[in-house]
Each structure stands twice: as C-alpha cells, then as structure tokens.
Amino acid sequence: MSCSRMESKILGYVDGRLKEGERLEMEKHLSTCGACQLRVNEFRSVHALLDELPMIEPSAAFDLRVRARVAAEPAKQSWWAWFTPSPRVAFAASMLLLATVWVGRYSMSDPPQIDQADIPVLENYDVISSFEPLTELSQAEPADNADQQSQDM
C-alpha cells in the first residue's frame, strides 16, 4: 500500500473502523513507513485532544420550554376532519333544517285561499263565454281548412 492510498484509510484505522483485511494491510505499511506512522500518531493525538472539551449541561428550564412549545402546538387535523363539522356549524345547520321543515309543513297544511274575484281573467267569464263573434270564429276555422284541402287536391 502506497502512502497516498493510505491517506484515505488513516482515519478509519485510527477509529478502528477498517475491515480486517484493510487493517492488516495498513499495519504492514506502517511497519515500514515512519512518516505514515507519525501521521497516525498525530491523528490519535488530535482525537485525544478533542476529548478534552467538556460537555455542557442543558439549562434547568430546557425541558419546561420544550414542553410549553409542544403544548402550544395546534392539534393536527387529519384529512377526514374536513368532513366533521364544528359544533357551531352543526348547530346552525340543524336550526336551518328545522326551520325549513317547519315552514314546509305550515305551508302544506294551510294552503292560501285565492278569491276568484281577484283574478281579472275570470272576472267577465260569463260575458266572454256568450260572446257571439268568438263562437263563430271557432266553428269557421275547420270549414276553411276543408276548403283549402279540396283545392290542393
């Protein structure tokens, strides 16, 4: 294994994440290459130095703040919730339905009485029914039609 090829494996070797074959190959190279051995030692030192940074603790109020923010989240509605009306809408729709039924029943049980005297067409029915020119007109029409048919023939 050349030094340039080793570069890509050095971190895995220091981590202990190389496969068995790769690790053995790496160790074989390290036994003959002082520069790479030095690089490995330096990488190990960097790892050890990074361990020296202490951890910090989340503040005492951290959990409370997360819980408060979660509690303030609006309840998530699923797609079918669209079909479930809110109580207000359901109440209003029920009232409208009841009102419609009530109005419908009232109108069927007590139909409006129309005074015949209020209808202007029927007002002079007697006069129109006995109006002579109109009766002649209705009798003359079939005769005219018969004359026309005979002429056509």
Binding site: G12, H47, D63, V66
Partner: protein, 191 residues
C-alpha cells in the same frame, strides 16, 4: 419514536430526556452560543413532535434527529455570519464570552494546581478555536464523527453526501486540526 407517533406523550418525554444533552452540545459546538444552541435544540424537538405522524423508520432515529439539527445549525451559522459582517468586517470572532460555560465552578477542588488549570484552560481554548475555524460542513462532520460517534453511513446521510465524499471531508478537517493544534500534538507526542 414509533410510540411517539402513536400518540404516547411519555415516550416523547423519554426522547427529550435521552437526546437533549447530546443535541445541545452538538449545537453549542456548532454555533458557539449557549442560548442560541438551546433555542435551536428546542426547535429540533418541536420539529420532531410536529413530524411524528409522518415519521417513517426508514433510517435510524439519530440520523433523522441530527439531520434536522445540522440543517438548523448550518442555517444559523450562515445567518450569524451575515449579521456579523453587517456589524464589522474587521472584528475577529471570539468565543471568549462563551468560554465560561464549560468552566467548572469548583476550580480549587478539581485543580489543586492553579498553574496546571490555567494551562488546561488555554489548551481548551485552542481546541475550541481550531474547531470553530473549520468550514461549517467540516465542523459538523467532525462533531458528528467524534462526539456523537455516528458511523460514516449515518453522517453522509445527515450531510447529504456520498460516503467517499464524507471520508475526504473528514480527512481534510482532521488534517486542518492537526496543523492548527500542532504545538499541542507535538507536546502530546513527547509525553
């Protein structure tokens, strides 16, 4: 997480208890501001809660969790950088204001030798500043690799890159750290 998805509030409390410390520390090392790190960690948990019903266990929960955290941290770091540029183009970015977060209060008890304590303090500052100087993506990769001990596959999913690209990214990052921390590395080699 599947219990949280099923609506078990207690499981969410368990998740919170288990992951708050690693998450806050990861975010703190990314943004170098304790208050901001806690705000971001809260946001991560909130997003987990919001997405609980859509959660599909196709990847490890930690991968999903740290992917959310990394994206938030990277955005925050970029936003902060632009804000700082607006304030001053020259002022160096220092973490001194935040250094006190990691100090132990009872110094005398843990460090009977005050000189030794000062040396360690200087070393910690050097290490912190070396990590800070890394480009954001390299920094995230090192923190996930070193402190969260995630495997290459997980980290590459979190950072949305191939495993080979991640290995190259990590190698460059550790090389930079090796150079930046050369005095400490040499000192350690002599010991």
């Amino acid at each position: 997480m599947l219990d949280v998805k099923a609506g078990d509030e207690q499981s969410f409390a368990l998740l919170l208890h288990r992951y708050r410390r690693p998450l806050v520390n990861f975010l703190y090392r990314m943004v170098r501001n304790r208050e901001q790190a806690e705000d971001l960690a809260q946001e991560v948990f909130l997003r987990v809660y919001r997405a609980r019903e859509d959660y599909v266990p196709s990847a490890k929960f930690t991968t999903w969790l740290f992917r959310i955290a990394t994206n938030l941290a990277l955005n925050s770091v970029r936003d902060n950088r632009y804000q700082r540029m607006e304030i001053s183009l020259d002022a160096p970015v220092t973490a001194d204001a935040e250094d006190g977060d990691e100090k132990t209060l009872d110094v005398a008890e843990k460090h009977p030798n005050i000189e030794q304590h000062l040396v360690e303090d200087v070393q910690r500052k050097m290490i912190r500043h070396a990590i800070e100087k890394l480009p954001e993506k390299q920094r995230a990769a090192v923190l996930l690799h070193k402190y969260q001990e995630l495997d290459y596959g997980e980290i590459s999913k979190i950072l949305d890159c191939s495993e080979s690209a991640l290995k190259s990214l990590l190698f460059r990052a550790y090389e930079t750290l090796r150079v930046e921390l050369a005095p400490l590395v040499a000192q350690r080699a002599r010991q």
